[in-house]
């Protein structure tokens, strides 16, 4: 028994030794394998949610995302709606959005990029205000607070 323990211990050590030696040369492929695991994707609270619609205008594209209410065990009562403007965007951005696709506009947002001012007109009572309005590397992004 004592001998078996020693052999098991030394085998475990040598396995670990090999693991450390191959770790760095194989890091990219190990990481790639890990990234393919089912849970290795960012939560919509961080990505902004799936893309629901794209409105393409002359030099700029408005990406409307699906509303995000993700919680731990169930959906939350409060969430957000993210809008992204890509490309060459004008100094003043104005958009009327129907995020729940019921045919009625839910809010209207006006962004003055020069003065970093965002004005929200909450048409629907579920709209709770501007959470984030910021310039990004691709243009501009806005998160509007929502309740269910």
């Amino acid at each position: 028994m004592k001998k078996a323990k020693i052999i098991a211990g030394i085998s475990w050590v040598f396995f670990c030794l090999i693991l450390i030696i191959i770790l760095f040369p194989g890091l990219n492929s190990f990481s790639l394998s890990v990234s393919k695991l089912p849970f290795m994707k960012l939560n919509p609270r961080y990505t902004g949610g799936e893309i629901a619609d794209k409105i393409i205008s002359k030099n700029c594209t408005l990406v409307i995302r699906k509303p995000v209410f993700n919680g731990f065990l169930k959906e939350r009562n409060s969430g957000f709606e993210q809008l992204d403007w890509h490309g060459t965007i004008p100094e003043i951005i104005k958009a009327s959005i129907d995020y729940d696709h019921d045919g009625i506009k839910d809010f209207c947002v006006l962004i003055d990029r020069k003065n970093s001012k965002t004005v929200l007109d909450p048409i629907d009572r579920k709209i709770k205000g501007v959470l984030i309005s910021t310039p990004t590397s691709y243009g501009w992004a806005v998160r509007i607070g929502l309740i269910k």
Binding site: L17, I20, N43, S137
Partner: protein
């Protein structure tokens, strides 16, 4: 006389030490230079050579002098400083400030660090997603590669990760070495369990709020890496917490106690790593037959991992980070690196050689990139 003999037990002759360093020399050469040293940029080439020499000289001395902690700490502290330098330098160059903006969060550009891992677990299980605004696979410090690095290091080293791999640990390790004698000598036993309480709280709060709460509210190392832009009462409170915890647990208390207080009383990842100490092949063992119960090891242990009761019982607690301080302090060599399954007091040299190779290789390769970056930056400043 007996003490001198025992101390020199781990020492090797110059030639033998060189021989033991040879595999490290070759492997670090391959990993650091990629097999083809590039000298097109002289300062970068020089930084690479300096780092390559530094790690190998330190490893050589570990064998030649028979001491571990002193040489480990040199690289460990340099690693912590250089990583902070690299991050801050990068932040200031790219964003002109140490704080990250809302755009960085929205575009998921925040570098991932291993401290987020405990908070990822429950949401990953229940929502099949990661609650961190970083990149899954591409870019610097992406989530997948950091998870792989931590996972392997934890399986192999257990809590040894905290003394051989963590790029933050060097901060309080460094500050804990400033004073010769501690001002505060005793801290209640209860506090040793604090990292587990922090772990419990951050795991729960992160899952329920779907936000990495430790990073958002507690992490003291935000003070030396990057933090949220101060734009509100909440972000100002957060910045205040980061700075006070850094000042208290990473600077003041380590200086006063000569212990790594942030690692001992706060770090939730340290708590998980402590549990993985149960499976790692490398351990620290106590040979009760040789021990004269002087308790020097208890006095020097930086993580409160040893108590006089533990020594009398001949076991090391799960808090041990295998830093080697107790091993170096023991004049009888009764406390030593060991391998699971091998009885205490036997195969001491074999166990130490294997442990040093594995742990030092991990630290050397993991740290090389950021140390080279830092040196490169400093050389560019000088010349």
């Amino acid at each position: 006389m007996d003490n001198v003999l025992k101390t020199t037990e781990m020492r090797k002759s110059f030639g033998k030490s060189l021989l033991y360093t040879l595999p490290m020399f070759l492997i670090t050469f391959m990993f650091i230079t990629g097999g083809k040293p590039n000298f097109s940029d002289p300062s970068s080439g020089l930084a690479m050579i300096m780092v390559f020499l530094l790690v190998n000289v330190l490893y050589f001395f570990m064998h030649f002098k028979g001491k571990t902690d002193k040489y480990r700490a040199v690289l460990f502290i340099i690693f912590a400083l250089s990583l902070s330098y690299t991050l801050i330098h990068n932040m200031i160059e790219v964003r002109k400030s140490m704080s990250f903006s809302q755009a960085d969060i929205l575009e998921c550009r925040i570098p991932f660090c291993h401290l987020v891992i405990p908070m990822m677990i429950l949401p990953a299980v229940f929502t099949k997603s990661i609650i961190f605004p970083g990149s899954i696979i591409s870019g610097f410090a992406n989530i997948s590669s950091m998870v792989v690095l931590w996972l392997v290091a934890t399986i192999v080293l257990g809590r040894g990760f905290c003394s051989w791999g963590c790029f933050y640990g060097g901060w309080d390790d460094g500050f804990s070495r400033i004073r010769k004698r501690p001002v505060i000598k005793k801290i209640g036993e209860l506090w040793k369990w604090m990292p587990f309480a922090v772990l419990l709280m951050v795991v729960l709060t992160a899952a329920l709020s779907m936000m990495p709460t430790y990073c958002s509210w507690i992490c003291p190392f935000k003070a030396v890496t990057e933090f949220e832009q101060v734009t509100s009462v909440e972000s100002a409170t957060k910045a205040g917490i980061f700075l006070s915890l850094f000042g208290g647990l990473v600077v003041v208390l380590p200086v006063m106690t000569r212990k790594r207080t942030q690692c001992s009383f706060l770090c939730p990842l340290g708590a998980i790593n402590s549990l993985s100490n149960k499976i790692t092949p490398f351990t620290v063992k106590i040979d009760k037959g040789s021990c004269n119960e002087c308790f020097k090891c208890v006095y020097v242990c930086p993580l409160y991992a040893l108590t006089s009761e533990d020594i009398k019982a001949g076991k090391v607690s799960l808090f041990c980070s295998k830093c080697g301080k107790c091993v170096d302090a023991c004049s009888k060599k009764a406390i030593h690196y060991g391998i699971r399954g091998i009885p205490a007091g036997t195969m001491k040299n074999f166990s130490r050689n294997l442990f040093l190779f594995v742990s030092f290789l991990f630290m050397a390769v993991f740290s090389a990139g950021s140390i080279i970056n830092t040196l490169h930056g400093l050389l560019k400043l000088i010349f």
